[in-house]
Symmetry: C2
Subunit: 117 residues, 2 copies
DNA sequence: CGATTGCATTCCTCTAGAGGAATATATACG
DNA sequence: CGTATATATTCCTCTAGAGGAATGCAATCG
C-alpha cells in the first residue's frame, strides 16, 4: 500500500483546520503565517505544522521574503483532489437521469424512490 | 463551529480505507457487506463501521433485502465534495494562464518559475 | 424448531496525530 | 552589536478514532 498523491492530498484535506487554512488562502492571494494565525485563531506552531502538511501534499506553496514566508494555494494538489471526485461524476449524472425519467414517465412519483440518491 | 455537510463529507473521505470502499463501490453498482469484506481485506466489523460513517455523510445509501444490505454510492455526498474543490478552480485556471503567458512571451522559461504552481 | 448466515453493535485497546509550551533559527531594526 | 520579530521545530501530553474480539439480532435454511 504505497501512499499516492491522492492519498497525500485527501489525508491532508481530511482535517477541518487545514480546510479552514485553504479557505483563508483562497481569499487572499497570498498570506504570511502571522496573518493566518490572526485569521484562523490557531496558535502559530499549529499553523506552521498544518502548512507543512499542506505543502507536502502540494496544496500550498511558499515564497520566502526575508523573515516572512508567503503562502499561497497550489493548483497541483487541489486538482488532484478535484480529479478524484470527478471520476465519480457518473454517479450523480445517473441520479439526474433517473430523476428525469421519473418526472417524465411516472404518474405517481411519491413511490419508488428507493435508492434515488 | 457547527459541522456542515462539507465537514461531514470531507472528514469521512479523509480516511484511506473509506476511500478504498468508495472505489470498490464504484466498480460494482451495488455491493453487499460481505462482498466488500472480501474485496477490501478488512474485517467485517470495520467495514460496517466505515460504511456507517459514509452513510452518515450521504456518500453511500443502503437497500435492505432480507438479511442482506446492498450498499451503493450516493451522489449527494460525492457532489458536495466535488463542489467544494470546484470552488477553487480559479487557482488552477490561473496556473495555466500564467503558463500560457510564459510560453508565449518569455524567451527563457527556465527562470522565474517562482510560485508557478 | 435449532443452526447458520449476514450484518450491526458494543467494549476494549492502542496508536496516529492534533494541540500546547518552550526553544531554535534566521532576519531585520535601532 | 543587542533586541525584536517571523517562523520552524522539538518535545510532551492527550484525545479521537481505527482496529480487534465478542456478542446481539434478524432472516433464512434444513
Amino acid at each position: 500500500m504505497d501512499v499516492t498523491d491522492t492519498d497525500l492530498v485527501l489525508d491532508a484535506v481530511g482535517e477541518p483546520n487545514r480546510r479552514h487554512l485553504l479557505e483563508l488562502l483562497h481569499d487572499q492571494r497570498e498570506s504570511t503565517v502571522s496573518h493566518l494565525v490572526d485569521a484562523s485563531g490557531m496558535r502559530q506552531p499549529q499553523v506552521s505544522k498544518h502548512l507543512k502538511v499542506l505543502a507536502n501534499a502540494e496544496l500550498v506553496s511558499v515564497r520566502t521574503d526575508g523573515r516572512f514566508r508567503h503562502y499561497r494555494l497550489d493548483g497541483r494538489g487541489l486538482q488532484v483532489a478535484h480529479d478524484w471526485f470527478s471520476s465519480f461524476d457518473d454517479v450523480w449524472h445517473a441520479r439526474f437521469d433517473t430523476l428525469d425519467e421519473l418526472v417524465s414517465t411516472d404518474p405517481n412519483p411519491d413511490q419508488a424512490e428507493e435508492h434515488l440518491r
